[in-house]
């Protein structure tokens, strides 16, 4: 027996088109806050690291950036800040780009740029650390 009692405010058309609640409405907001909290101590740590590297030659910079504690701190900073900026730029694009195709392209470009930045930075840090 098919039950036709309405249980939802979503229209049948909306349900077919997969529009409406995806049960993930607060995840974006929460991850933005989560990464922002992580970024406060990590940013302070990275500022200290960069200040300590001022005026040093290449060999010293490689040694310090490649040391375990500094490399792990830099990796954490790259991961949390790139995820944070990826989420943030998504909001900016969704606020200002209203044409569907342009919005789609901009959102894709945002993801590609963020992935490229994170991978390039992580690769450099790991290369310095493992001395390849």
């Amino acid at each position: 027996m098919t039950d036709h009692t309405p249980r939802s405010l979503r229209t049948p058309l909306g349900r077919v088109r997969h529009l409406g609640s995806a049960r993930s409405g607060t995840r974006h907001f929460w991850h933005q806050r989560l990464t922002s909290v992580a970024n406060v101590p990590l940013t302070v740590a990275v500022i200290v690291i960069v200040m300590a590297l001022l005026g040093r030659n290449h060999a010293a910079v490689v040694q310090i950036l490649g040391s375990t504690f500094v490399a792990v701190t830099m990796l954490l900073f790259v991961v949390t800040s790139v995820y944070h900026m990826w989420l943030g730029m998504q909001v900016i694009i969704e606020d200002y780009v209203h044409d569907e195709l342009r919005k789609l392209v901009a959102l894709m470009a945002n993801t590609f740029f963020s992935c490229a930045v994170a991978l390039a930075a992580a690769f450099a840090i790991l290369k310095l650390s493992f001395g390849l």
Binding site: N39, V40, I47, I92, A124
Partner: protein
């Protein structure tokens, strides 16, 4: 519907309101966020150059020493600290505190004074103690 042309009344846009500090700082928070987004290219360039070798690292050092390089780095420092302090202010607001008329003004002024102050302090320490960009 994005395509629908409506003649319904729109809510007043930015130019209708008298500029207020909290509002300007909200805009600046987004602008600094956008600037830091592209500023990561500088971080990646620096890290890749360090990993590539002494010659590549020397070209980064050369650029950072130029007036343009120093200006970009100074702006990067301020944007980073301003966005961080502004973010802490937003976290305080997220927790439900600091919404009173005096409190929100105080928080906003503290963000601005703090970001400018810390930026100048960091550059003074950088030049006087750490020997500057070399």
């Amino acid at each position: 519907m994005a395509e629908a042309k409506t003649s319904r009344p729109l809510s007043p846009h930015l130019q209708i309101y008298r500029p207020m500090l909290t509002m300007m700082m909200s805009i600046v928070h987004r602008i600094t966020g956008g600037a830091l987004y592209f500023g990561t290219l500088l971080l990646v360039w620096w890290l890749i150059a360090a990993a590539a070798g002494p010659n590549a690292y020397a070209s980064v050092q050369w650029f950072m020493e130029t007036l343009l390089g120093r200006l970009i780095l100074f702006g990067y420092t301020w944007a980073l600290i301003h966005h961080m302090l502004g973010g802490i202010r937003h976290l305080i607001w997220d927790m439900g505190y600091g919404f009173g008329p005096a409190e929100r003004e105080w928080l906003t002024v503290a963000t601005l004074v703090g970001s400018v102050g810390f930026t100048i302090l960091l550059w003074l320490v950088g030049y006087l103690i750490m020997g500057g960009i070399r």
